[in-house]
Symmetry: C2
Subunit: 497 residues, 2 copies
Amino acid sequence: MLRVLSVAAAAAPRLPRPCAPPGPLLLGLLSRQVRAAAGSADAERGSVLKTPKGTRDHHPAQMALRERLFRTVVTCFKRHGAAAIDTPVLELREMLMEKYGDNSKLIYELQDQGGELLALRYDLTVPFARYLAMNKITNIKRYHIAKVYRRDNPAMTRGRYREFYQCDFDIAGQFDPMIPDAECLKIVHEILSELQIGDFLIKVNDRRILNGVFAICGIPESKLLTMCSTLDKLDKMPWEEVRSEMVGEKGLSPEAADRIGEYVQLHGGMDLIEQLLQDPKLSQNKLAKEGLGDMKLLFEYLTLFGITGKISFDLSLARGLDYYTGLIIEAVLLQQENDHGEESVSVGSVAGGGRYDGLVGTFDPKGRKVPCVGVSIGIERIFSILEHRMKAAGEKVRTTETQVMVATPQKHLLSARLKLISELWDAGIKAEMMYRKDPKLLKQLQYCEDMGIPLVAIIGEQELRDGVVKLRDVATREEVDIPREELAAEIRRRLKP
Amino acid sequence: MLRVLSVAAAAAPRLPRPCAPPGPLLLGLLSRQVRAAAGSADAERGSVLKTPKGTRDHHPAQMALRERLFRTVVTCFKRHGAAAIDTPVLELREMLMEKYGDNSKLIYELQDQGGELLALRYDLTVPFARYLAMNKITNIKRYHIAKVYRRDNPAMTRGRYREFYQCDFDIAGQFDPMIPDAECLKIVHEILSELQIGDFLIKVNDRRILNGVFAICGIPESKLLTMCSTLDKLDKMPWEEVRSEMVGEKGLSPEAADRIGEYVQLHGGMDLIEQLLQDPKLSQNKLAKEGLGDMKLLFEYLTLFGITGKISFDLSLARGLDYYTGLIIEAVLLQQENDHGEESVSVGSVAGGGRYDGLVGTFDPKGRKVPCVGVSIGIERIFSILEHRMKAAGEKVRTTETQVMVATPQKHLLSARLKLISELWDAGIKAEMMYRKDPKLLKQLQYCEDMGIPLVAIIGEQELRDGVVKLRDVATREEVDIPREELAAEIRRRLKP
């Protein structure tokens, strides 16, 4: 469907002249569009000629890339039997406000214009839990791809926006331990492999193990969440710095910090799990023991899936959100893009998720729990990486799927063109023509080259008399007369994938 | 892809029991979901357990229907060579506020949380014009399918919501008259035909003709827009009532109203155009003459497309929005659904659009114009009609695309299931299994019937020893042993469309 044309030899992007009569539609190079999307200087001329801070338009070439990414993600979700749902972008403010801890300040609130107090959703997980409780659904495997909103500090070159897509897959229901959890990891593995964005590592941990570690190191439960957020920095700074934040800002004793350090710097696979199960202190902690038992089960299932090579049990993984209760997941890219100085793409996490067994219960009037586990694919970061990579490679992407251009070689043949293109549309052929009475043949052919249209159906006076259409291959320039009634079938035959 | 299963014999909808261990995923009948979507009494128990007024969740069966509609619409837009774009849901408040006349009061505004003043988009047309001006694009054929927001009075059974999808196709650029306009009508004709929602009529008029009619009837230009909104009621009430509103509320003289009445009750095709071109008064009006000339051209092109049978030149068509400058379009269904009393679906317009040559210029710092024409498909109303129709017919819709269920007939075979399903996923097969260690075979088969899964891959001790998998056809109950390495190919062969 989507064809990526290599244009190594392409010079400056071909742009339509302002109001040039039969000019080609816009087919900018990605580079131009990246600049425009980042908010060009031009945009400041007219005061309203910009998109809100942290948001952007998507140009056709960007949409073509985005559609390809979505197709890969959705295909995987459907392969695993998920159904689609949708929830409103707007939610009751009250419903959202208590769910994100400190991050609630990042929620966009609507003005009170009479009626309910509303806000824009911050993620897809809390609305999903609201959906389950409201509809008394105790059992569903669903995906949801939609925009969410955060009044965050945008970092647009790294793919961090205030309006961005989330691609979520979640399994809700009471099941045997770690079977749905293992499937979530399989899904992340499949998607990151298929997108070919480079080598990746999927880190896993368990909130219960973390809690156990903190407990045996003598950290009060009240400090647990703040410790998690400090701990999360271990992938960006060395242990010494994290330790000094714990001791300095967070008021931990140096001894407690050192005890934590012994654990959280550990990462590995089944060996590490076995080692910790033998750990005299940790194995005495009930929560940690449960978590380690489940982690062992998880690695057994992941071994059957053949994906343990890219999974790391990492005791430093904490993840910020309050609602996780068991397994936590985060996938990171190992090979960073590193092209041209300021434009280099620095991305970290490209997927995340975990188990949240308590969230639905907070919505249910009777507190009934629905255990859930899910993952979210960080599609915006992946999009940034691939966009920059295509730009670096000078790749041009087709923004339309047009199969044939209906063209006339002489004047006064608009009627013939309209009649023929109508026949082709009715036969399901993707066809375009110039919106001019008498376009020059050269312009029509040029348009095909610009837009990557592979075929031209030329109908002139001679062809009309003979009841044929001249079918031209844009690449080879070969032309063949085809009986008019066979044209659609011939086009379909030539463009068979 | 989407299979609609007929369940004439189905009794009560099969629902998962609360927390029943291996219960089937939700596959409710549409009827149940319609009730839930309309806001059931249950939702009021928990105060936050509802969606905001005029919004709704989409359940899997609704999403399956919605996806089918979108696919039809997008396929048509792509057949006509359109590229996709996307713009943010949020826009600068200032940009939106002046564009919708009286309707501006329906715009959702965001709270001032510091930074820019924002609002939710009201339609996709004004953001499109902002996009063209901001990026200096003078030439594009694009489609955009996305949600828009209006603080309107919701009428949810008739498909009127506060959050709803628009499906827009627009052609921007300086071209020869009426060629893009004719294509817009062809697109509406194709989509409404393909969706099979019943007989329809596409009404067309031209703002210039309307202006001319008002002018020769002696109506001052200041009253033009308010007259249009009164006139728009002619499809819901008889001329006498419209006339009395014009004379009473709008202060028109009875003579002027009668003169208008002579024109706006006219509708027809090429004959009417010719008749009006001969009209001694109207043909003297420059604007009307231009409009009539273009309307004649349009009908010539529509004749070549073979679609004049469903097009009506209707002088009562006015359309509310300020920004139209030429052709205006509105498609209505002729046969209304009329099933069970209160639940009957009353829908009017299912598509609308027109030419707006001035809108982009209002954004451009130098006022440069980009002529535009476009149509918007009223997908929510069409969705309502089809949803009610499926409900009336008791149709059940598959919500997933799972091809095969991986099942085991004995205990202690979880590993075998995990290994086999992993092989199938890696081969691109859509496969599911129960998230239980030892599910009963009957439960696994029942799940297939509930979810419409056509095949079961059964792997037991004997099959493991023989290196085969028993492939069962759910409908016929036939079972055949297939060598394990040929399983994926066999499943693909059996389910070939």
